[in-house]
């Protein structure tokens, strides 16, 4: 299967690494494809939107005509995973904890509200072991870097992980939004969960 990774800005190489590692562990054939132009979107089975700065990724994607094409694909059911900035871009509603309303370009395909920099700035960034029931008993190390949080969910969106009662991961019709960075830990379970859902 072909998995596209939006490669305009941020930690996209890290997702490529994780997909390769997952392919090695499971024997599945996963071909990571870097998505920089609308033409790279052809024939994808899924897309990953990496962490980075959501304003940068949105602004550049809009300028090269990727934003609208990707949105159409996502609306017609292409599975997607967004980590951190990626989750922000997937959300229908976005606010910033300090600045409030942000006028940034979004994909807006998930029924969630994301608050950017929810946990504060870099100084407040942290790592902690999360309990994610869908991944089993073993805790998952969540790396939160200037992380957002999912403050409201409606429609078919449901939370799959919480930290102190706040949703940090949500799922809706094959789309996955994560406030943290599974691509920094070398633990492939979240990528595996995402790909398994597509295989079904």
């Amino acid at each position: 299967m072909k998995v596209g990774i939006v490669a305009l800005q941020g930690g996209f190489c890290e997702h490529v690494y994780m997909l390769r590692k997952l392919a090695e562990e499971t024997g599945w054939s996963i071909e990571p494809v870097l998505v920089k132009k609308p033409s790279n979107l052809r024939g994808l089975d899924a897309v990953i939107i990496p962490g980075g700065e959501s304003t940068t990724i949105g602004v550049v994607a809009r300028r090269i005509g990727l934003l609208d094409e990707l949105r159409d694909l996502l609306e017609s059911g292409l599975p997607a995973m967004g980590t951190c900035a990626g989750a922000t871009l997937l959300a229908k509603s976005v606010r910033d904890r300090v600045v409030g309303e942000t006028r940034q370009p979004l994909l807006a395909v998930m029924n969630i509200e994301v608050v950017r920099n929810y946990y504060g700035r870099q100084r407040e960034s942290f790592e902690v072991d999360l309990k994610i029931p869908v991944l089993g008993e073993k805790p998952f190390r969540g790396v939160f870097i200037r992380a957002p949080a999912i403050t409201r969910l409606w429609g078919r969106a449901k939370g799959i992980a919480e930290l102190d009662g706040v949703t940090v991961a949500a799922e809706e019709d094959g789309k996955l939004a994560l406030a943290f960075h599974p691509e920094l830990t070398g633990d492939t379970r979240i990528h595996r969960y995402f790909i398994e859902n597509i295989k079904r």
Partner: protein, 351 residues
């Protein structure tokens, strides 16, 4: 963070009258004094150890520090001096802003002592943009860094653009929770800064000149030196580690990766989209643009064009489009490096 006072333990290391029967005791006391200093964090050049399972959120860990620059990759950090410029940078798609008192070009023109930016200005910028905010401190100035950490700046640039306060030592960056970026002209410098705890490296270039030549030179030197490491015998790498003054594991790691083990940006003299794309092509993970944007007469267009060219560096058509967004008539004037006197060079500060 609490910084232990610099002279802690010194009064405990009193000189003793040394008789042979006392000599053992004397060395024990020296060791005690050293232990005391170590407890106070003064010889700690390395990250904290973490437990296997983290129940309570752990801040400022190695992963969090090194992770921050990872999400700057492919992006542009722009020098700004006020909230209005920061707003322009954010709208153009900058991945972060660097708050300065004066743009490097003006630092060069005005001379005098260049210091950390105004704390109030930094705080105003932090309150108006959603992207990360960085600020510069003078080389070796622990307290400027402590102040920036306490007001919540996302990254600190220990920068040769400001006037160094310590000609011999850089800050021990392991003492801080906030990640640091440092300049380097060659591999030895880069690895020394990483040993001191830098989470990110940038080429020094020659800031404030609008001339990308020095950034190119430094980037090529670093790439060349990494390539030559790969062709060496392990014992030769051991010798190089001694020459650089860094742990040999770090040299081995760099050789194995075939790149710096931290994120490496280009900086110093980048003024056009083509400059930014060139630096990306040479292997930079992203770029810092200093005077190039707000010293030009078309900052809005230029900021957006440089962001586009940095993201899409591997696609010459898009870079051409970005280059067409700006006018060469409006680029900053620029300075020929060969016309600078040796004492005017910024890159030689802090080796």
């Amino acid at each position: 963070m609490t910084l232990p006072p610099y002279h802690v333990g010194v009064e405990r290391a009193r000189l003793y009258e040394v008789g042979f029967d006392r000599i053992v005791d004397f060395f024990y006391r020296l060791a005690e004094a050293a232990d005391r200093l170590r407890e106070d964090g003064w010889f700690q050049y390395g990250p904290e150890k973490l437990p296997e399972y983290i129940e309570i959120p752990a801040r400022g860990t190695l992963r969090v520090k090194y992770g921050f620059p990872v999400f700057q990759k492919g992006g542009v950090c722009m020098d700004v001096t006020n909230t209005e410029q920061a707003g322009i940078a954010e709208e153009a798609g900058a991945a972060s802003v660097m708050v300065l008192d004066k743009l490097p070009y003006d630092v060069r023109r005005q001379g005098g002592v260049a210091r950390m930016a105004d704390v109030k200005v930094i705080q105003q910028v932090m309150d108006t943009v959603t992207i990360p905010v960085m600020a510069k401190v003078r080389i070796g100035h622990y307290y400027e860094a402590a102040i920036l950490e306490s007001i919540g700046v996302d990254m600190i640039d220990e920068s040769e653009v400001l006037t160094p306060v310590d000609e011999k030592h850089h800050i021990n960056k392991w003492l801080f929770k906030v990640p640091f970026v440092n300049g380097a002209r060659n591999l030895g410098e880069a690895l020394r800064r990483i040993t001191e705890g830098a989470a990110m490296i940038r080429t020094k270039g020659e800031a404030g000149t609008g001339n990308v030549a020095e950034a190119v030179r430094h980037m090529k030197i670093i790439v060349k030196e990494i390539w030559s490491l790969r062709g060496m015998t392990p014992e030769e790498r051991m010798r190089i580690a001694r020459e650089y003054g860094v742990p040999h594991q770090l040299v081995e790691l760099t050789a194995r990766l075939g790149r710096l083990p931290v994120v490496n940006f280009a900086a110093g003299g980048i003024a056009t989209p083509a400059d930014a794309a060139l630096m990306m092509w040479l292997g930079a993970d992203g770029v810092f643009v200093g005077s190039g944007i707000f010293k030009s007469s078309d900052p809005r267009e230029r900021a957006a064009a440089i962001v586009l060219a940095t993201s899409m560096w591997d696609d010459p058509e898009t870079v051409a489009e970005a280059q067409a967004m700006i006018s060469e008539q409006k680029s900053m004037m620029g300075i020929d490096i060969r016309k600078l006197k040796p004492e005017e060079l910024l890159q030689v500060r802090g080796d």
